[in-house]
C-alpha cells in the first residue's frame, strides 16, 4: 500500500522551496523502492513552518517542518514515512497551539484536502451548503445570509445579504455574480490561499449567490500576479463543470450557472468594484461614478453582485451549518470570523481565522512572537495600503469593524503588517502618496494631482522637517483628498499618511532635529 504525503502547492510554500522538497521526497522514495502518493495541498497557514510535509500514518497525520531538500534523506532514514521521531517532527498540526486556538469555519478544509479532488471536498462537508440552498427559495437563502450577520470582506464591510437582496429584487434579462479576486493589498493573501487550497468552496459560494439573486453567469477577476492560483482555479472550474456542478443544470436542479475566470493586468485600482467591472468589459479600469450601483446596473449594464472571495466562501458554511452557527462568533456588529493575515517583520507570520474581537497585541505578540529581526515592534499597518499605522499604545484595540474605526483605522481585508523600530513613518507616508499617484485611475483631480503634490510635500518634509507651513499644507491636502475623491483610493490615502503623522510626529521632524543637533 502506498503512503500518502502532503506537500503544499501554495505560492508561499513554493517560495521557500516546497517544489524542491517534493522532488527530493519523490526521488528518495523511488531510490528506496517505497510507494508514495504525493498530494499537493493548500497551506495550513502557519507559514513559518513551510515547507511543511505531512504524512498519513496509522496514528493520524503527522507534520514535519520546516523541511529543506537536504533534510529529506535523513527524514526517510529516521522513519518519518511512518511518523517516527525527528527534530523536525511537529505531530498533528491541528494540535499545534497556534492552530488549535483558531476557529476555522471558512478555512476548515484549506491544507487538509486535495484541492482538486471533488470526492475529498465532499467528504469534508463540501456541497452541504449548496444542497441546502437548492431546496430553498431565493429569498430564504438571502434571509439566512442576512441572519448570519455576514459583512463584505473586501474592505467596506457592507452586509452581504442586503446586497444580494437588492440584486434579487432588480428585474433584468440577465444578472451576474462577480467575485473580486484582485487582492491587491500588501499584507494579504487569504484569497490566494482559497484558490490554491479549496477552490471548490469558492465555486460553491458563487453558485449559491447565483441561485439567490437569479444570475446564471459568474466571473472571477483574478489579479495577474496570482497566475499559479489562477491555473488551479481554472482546473477546478473544469472539474466542477464535468461533474455537473456548473453548467445547464446545477446538480440536476434544472438551474443554470456557468463560471469563467479572467485575469487582471497589474492595476491595483481594478480591485475597486466599478473599475473592476470596466476592466471585465474590456476597457480601461477607470472608476465609474455611483449611482447607479452595480446591484442595479453593473457588468454590461446588468444587475451584478460583486463580492470578495471571503464573503462568498463564508456562505457555504452559513447555509450548510446554519446562520446561527456562524453568527455566534464575533462581537457587536462584526459577526463570524476574521481572516487575519499576519505579515511583514514578524517571527511567525501566516493566516489565522479567529472570531472578531481579538486584540492587535494578541495577534502580533501572542501569535507572531514579535519581529523577525528581533528588534522591538514600533508600528503596525492594518488593512492594506489604505489602512492606518498604529503605535504600540493602540495595540489593545480589538479587531472588529467598529473598534478599528473608532480609533481612526480600518480592518480592510484583514492584513496586518508589522514594522520594527528601524521604520521611518515619514517615508511610509511618502510611500502612501507615491502608491496613490502610481495607481490612480486619473478620473478625479484630488487623487490624480493631490497624490503627486503629497509626495512632493513629503519629500520636502523628509528633507527639512515639518514646520507650521508644511503641517498646514499636509492637513489641507489630505482634507481635500478625503472629501472630494470619487473612490476610496484617493479618499483613504490620507489615512496612512495622517495616522503616521499623528502617532509618530517625531519622524516628521527628524530632519530638523538633525539640523539643530549639528548646529
Amino acid at each position: 500500500m502506498s503512503i500518502r504525503l502532503y506537500i503544499p502547492l501554495d505560492t508561499s510554500a513554493r517560495a521557500v522551496g516546497a517544489d524542491r522538497v517534493a522532488k527530493a521526497v519523490v526521488a528518495a522514495a523511488a531510490d528506496r523502492g517505497v510507494d508514495i502518493d504525493l498530494v499537493r495541498n493548500g497551506s495550513r497557514g502557519l507559514y513559518w513552518l513551510e515547507p511543511l510535509v505531512e504524512v498519513e500514518t496509522s496514528a493520524g497525520r503527522i507534520a514535519y517542518g520546516p523541511v529543506t531538500p537536504r533534510d529529506v534523506a535523513g527524514l526517510i532514514d529516521a522513519g518519518f514515512l511512518t511518523g517516527a521521531d525527528h527534530p523536525l517532527r511537529i505531530g498533528n498540526i491541528e494540535s499545534h497551539p497556534d492552530f488549535a486556538r483558531e476557529t476555522r469555519l471558512t478555512f476548515r478544509r484549506v491544507g487538509l484536502i486535495d484541492p482538486l479532488s471533488l470526492p475529498d471536498f465532499e467528504a469534508h462537508r463540501g456541497l452541504n451548503g449548496l444542497r441546502k440552498a437548492l431546496a430553498l427559495a431565493p429569498i430564504e437563502i438571502i434571509d439566512q445570509v442576512i441572519r448570519s450577520g455576514l459583512r463584505g470582506r473586501g474592505g467596506a464591510g457592507f452586509p452581504t445579504g442586503i446586497k444580494w437582496k437588492t440584486v434579487a429584487e432588480t428585474r433584468a434579462e440577465r444578472k451576474y455574480v462577480v467575485c473580486n479576486v484582485d487582492e491587491g493589498d500588501s499584507g494579504t493573501f487569504a484569497d490566494r490561499m482559497v484558490l490554491e487550497g479549496d477552490p471548490f468552496m469558492l465555486i460553491e459560494g458563487m453558485i449559491i449567490a447565483g441561485l439567490a439573486v437569479g444570475a446564471d453567469k459568474g466571473y472571477l477577476y483574478v489579479r495577474s500576479e496570482y497566475i499559479d492560483a489562477f491555473r488551479v482555479l481554472e482546473k477546478a472550474i473544469a472539474i466542477a463543470t464535468d461533474a455537473g456542478l456548473l453548467g445547464r443544470s446545477v446538480m440536476g436542479s434544472g438551474k443554470t450557472f456557468e463560471l469563467e475566470a479572467r485575469l487582471g493586468a497589474g492595476a491595483y485600482i481594478c480591485g475597486e468594484e466599478m473599475s473592476l467591472i470596466e476592466s471585465l468589459e474590456g476597457k480601461r479600469g477607470v472608476v465609474r461614478a455611483k449611482p447607479p450601483l452595480p446591484a442595479h446596473a453593473g457588468l454590461f449594464g446588468m444587475p451584478t453582485v460583486v463580492n470578495n472571495v471571503q464573503s462568498l466562501t463564508a456562505v457555504p458554511y452559513i447555509l450548510g451549518e446554519g446562520p446561527e452557527a456562524y453568527e455566534k462568533f464575533g462581537q457587536g456588529r462584526s459577526r463570524g470570523t476574521l481572516i487575519v493575515q499576519l505579515t511583514g517583520n514578524v517571527k511567525r507570520g501566516g493566516l489565522f481565522e479567529l472570531p472578531f474581537g481579538i486584540s492587535i497585541r494578541e495577534v502580533v505578540e501572542g501569535i507572531g512572537k514579535g519581529t523577525r529581526s528581533g528588534r522591538p515592534i514600533r508600528a503596525v499597518q492594518v488593512g492594506g495600503p489604505l489602512g492606518a499605522y498604529f503605535p504600540e499604545s493602540l495595540f489593545d484595540t480589538p479587531l472588529d469593524y467598529e473598534a478599528m474605526a473608532a480609533r481612526g483605522g480600518m480592518l480592510g481585508h484583514g492584513g496586518i503588517v508589522v514594522f520594527d523600530d528601524t521604520v521611518d513613518l515619514a517615508s511610509q507616508a511618502r510611500f502612501a502618496f507615491a502608491f496613490c499617484a502610481h495607481e490612480s485611475c486619473g478620473k478625479c483631480t484630488p487623487c490624480r494631482l493631490g497624490a503627486v503634490r503629497g509626495r512632493e510635500l513629503m519629500d520636502r518634509i523628509i528633507e527639512r522637517g515639518a514646520g507650521p507651513v508644511e503641517t498646514e499644507m499636509l492637513q489641507d491636502l489630505t482634507t481635500v483628498m478625503t472629501d472630494a475623491s470619487l473612490c476610496a483610493l484617493g479618499g483613504l490615502t490620507p489615512l496612512p499618511v495622517m495616522s503616521a503623522f499623528k502617532h509618530f510626529p517625531e519622524d516628521f521632524q527628524r530632519a530638523k532635529a538633525l539640523r539643530s543637533a549639528a548646529e
Partner: protein, 157 residues
C-alpha cells in the same frame, strides 16, 4: 528569444478571432498576444480593433492603462521585485540598492545585453515570508542578497 514567437499578423488575427466571441474579449486577447509574442506589437492594434469592431484609440487606451501590457520586447528573464509595505518592513529596498551597487541593474530597465529585466511590483501575496520576488513564474521568499546574487548569475549564464 526562444520562449516567444516572432510577430506574425496572421497568427495574431487568428488568436483574436478565436477569443472574439467572449464577453469583454479585449483583455483576454491582449493577454494571449503578450503570452505568445512577449509584448504587444504596435501592429497588433489595428488587427485587434478590426476583429472586435473597436476604434484603434480604444485599443491603444486599454493597452496603455494596464502595467502588465508591454509595448516592446523585454529581457530573456524577467524578475519582478515586490516593493510594497510588508516587503519594505523586511528590507526590500536594500535589495534594490544591492542590484544597483553590485550588479549595475536598475529596477524598471532591461540590461544592455538583453538578458534580464527587473520590474517593481506591489505585492505578490507572499507577505509573511518576504522579501518576495518572482523569477518568470517561480516565486522566491525571504530573499537576501546571497540568493539574489545566485538568481542573477543564473539568469545571466
Amino acid at each position: 528569444m526562444a520562449r516567444h514567437r516572432r510577430w506574425d499578423a496572421a497568427l495574431a488575427k487568428q488568436m483574436a478571432l478565436r477569443l472574439a466571441d467572449k464577453e469583454g474579449a479585449l483583455l483576454p486577447i491582449l493577454h494571449e498576444l503578450q503570452a505568445t509574442f512577449g509584448y504587444i506589437d504596435d501592429r497588433a492594434v489595428s488587427v485587434v480593433a478590426d476583429v472586435l469592431n473597436l476604434s484603434k484609440a480604444e485599443v491603444v487606451g486599454t493597452i496603455s492603462f494596464y502595467p502588465d501590457f508591454r509595448s516592446s520586447e523585454v529581457g530573456e528573464t524577467v524578475i519582478r521585485l515586490c516593493r510594497a509595505e510588508a516587503c519594505q518592513s523586511v528590507g526590500c529596498e536594500h535589495l534594490v540598492a544591492h542590484l544597483k551597487d553590485t550588479h549595475g541593474i536598475e529596477v524598471g530597465r532591461t540590461t544592455s545585453d538583453g538578458r534580464l529585466t527587473v520590474e517593481s511590483v506591489y505585492c505578490l501575496g507572499n507577505c509573511a515570508l518576504g522579501p518576495s520576488i518572482l523569477v518568470e513564474e517561480q516565486p522566491f521568499g525571504r530573499v537576501d542578497t546571497t540568493l539574489l546574487d545566485e538568481l542573477i548569475a543564473e539568469a545571466r549564464r
